[in-house]
Point group: C2
Chain length 323, copies 2
DNA sequence: TTGTAAGCGTTATCAA
DNA sequence: TTGATAACGCTTACAA
């Protein structure tokens, strides 16, 4: 693998001249410059990133961190991030939680987008700095070097639940995710608020806490069935769990929506295919936006600290039009 | 950000002693060792990867490269890779085609797994070396430093098409991917071989070349419909295109499987949900295996050059049991 | 058992 | 317009 010295030797110049050419310095003669560039091509020389990173202290690489392989919308988010990054001089690096802290250092990456339940707030606070901005998805934190992009969960969830009430549903079950997650908190709050506004009692035994995976939706529905009293509508905090619940229900001969309505959140491909009533989150767009925010921040542009993305209710076949 | 010198100063030793501790050298007194480790924690010191990579010339990071955000099985492959890597001392870095060549250098990563149509063979040949092994998925190349893991497309595709023939289907349509891809070539060959064995004529106008995306399946089916003569069975080289085709067909009042049978390949979540007859590829497992192969290679273990993964036909509702 | 010093490939400063 | 040299943070002989 050719190094800068090999290029310098081949061109009969010192290696600092080569460096100057490669970094666009204009203190190099035109003839020398083009000669060096040609030799770089011939020798297939690419600057060593470690040497460069060591010296410069920055990398022009941004990092995206995720660790959930069950929710396919991650691919859409990556798609959005990738498309924005490709229009810039930056490179995109993706990692999972194990290696994230290691990669979140100045000499490896210049900033980070994270959407990972396993990422601890304290790590974010420790890492975010003037010259290492972070964009956090689906979580709100207060820090001058951290920008948050969250989905407006509250409004569409209210619309969804009110829609169920309007259709005649009165007895509800709720399947949430881990309780410390922002999404679950907001969606559950909207759910509760609608019920209170409509003077509908919600027994706490009808709350089930899952982990966003299909299996826990399956488990939740199974438990509802075993408990004897099935609600009229099962509101799930995401699509995977809603689909798991539907699977459990239909395996036991309970029809959706005739016997029970089920709703999700995410509008995954599967939700669309299965006709699940849900809320559509523009994933590609929020990936794109996150990358834009991060890179603008790295470049020194200030932008807003908290951005709320709106989401749309999609009424489909898992809810009857009139109960 | 604390450096090795800060740690050395705080511990009252030279920085090479700190380095020795961090690298598990045993020429350090027990007392000094534990004191240094404690100080590293207090100061939140992590070795600078650039400095380390520069000196060592290797990184203990493996790279995975992909660029297709439509096919959700990539998440499963990543899941498998990630799970294997997490059991080792290695880190996992993921990238898309834009940055791949940059990251495929010794000072950034120690080896690479690639599954990307955009990755050129010449780049693989140029990059693969004694100390930079590469694992390629879904492609066969001859190179001592490149290992290939491919799906056995031929056998299950033969089984699938023969199954269709056995069920009475005689007029076929075929939707392929880009023709230079190994998957398309092998699956098409199996398809043709079965037809020849059964003395069934396949008019070349019934071959449509797509790009693996749902949309091109939609287009293909639309063209078949416009051409007037619809085949009895539409064999698609992957699920996305099969689902796109089904969408186009049903939008035009053509029923699957009553009017036409449709088959895919991949066994995506969507295929399962939609009841698409397809071939199941163990994606998690091949990711896991790819990571294992790569890392064993980096560690100097020789392993087999070409590995064929077997895949299973899944008969579902998009094919009638008897035509 | 610990410290000194060289060197990895690059960029930046300053002198020629 | 060019080149010599120091410095980035680390590892590793080798010397103490």
């Amino acid at each position: 693998m050719a190094g800068i010295k090999d290029v310098a030797k081949a061109a009969g110049v010192s290696f600092s001249t080569v460096s100057n050419v490669l970094n666009g310095k204009k203190n190099v003669g035109e003839e020398t410059r083009s000669r060096i560039l040609k030799i770089c091509e011939e020798l297939e020389y690419y600057p060593n990133a470690a040497g460069r990173g060591l010296k410069r202290g920055n990398s022009n690489i941004i990092l995206f961190n995720f660790s959930d392989f069950d929710r396919t919308f991650y691919l859409k988010i990556i798609n959005g991030i990738n498309d924005y990054v490709n229009r810039t001089e930056f490179d995109l690096m993706i990692c999972t939680i194990k290696s994230c802290e290691k990669f979140m250092r100045n000499n490896m990456t210049s900033g980070c987008i994270t959407l990972d339940m396993g990422m601890k707030n304290e790590v974010l606070f420790k890492t975010a700095k003037e010259n290492y901005p972070i964009v956090v998805l689906d979580r709100v934190v207060e820090n001058p070097f951290i920008k948050c992009i969250v989905v407006n969960n509250y409004d569409p969830m209210k619309e969804l639940v009110q829609g169920l009430v309007d259709r005649g549903y009165r007895k509800f079950g709720f399947i949430g995710g881990p309780e410390q997650t922002n999404d679950t908190q907001e969606r559950y709050q909207a759910f509760l608020d609608v019920l209170v506004e409509n003077h509908i009692y919600f027994p706490s035994k009808n709350y089930f806490s899952g982990d966003y995976r299909e299996k826990s939706g399956f488990t939740a529905a199974t438990i509802f069935m075993l408990s004897g009293e099935l609600p009229e509508a099962l509101v799930c905090v995401n699509d995977n769990m809603a689909l798991g619940a539907i699977k459990a229900l239909s395996q036991n001969g309970i029809r959706v929506p005739e016997d029970i309505a089920v709703t999700g959140f995410d509008n995954s491909d599967l939700a669309e295919a299965m006709g699940l009533t849900t809320v559509d989150i523009p994933n590609y767009e929020r990936g794109y936006l996150a990358a834009q925010y991060l890179i603008e921040n790295i470049m020194g542009k200030r932008n807003v600290d908290l951005f709320k993305i709106s989401a749309q209710v999609r009424w489909r076949e898992t809810v009857s039009s009139k109960k």
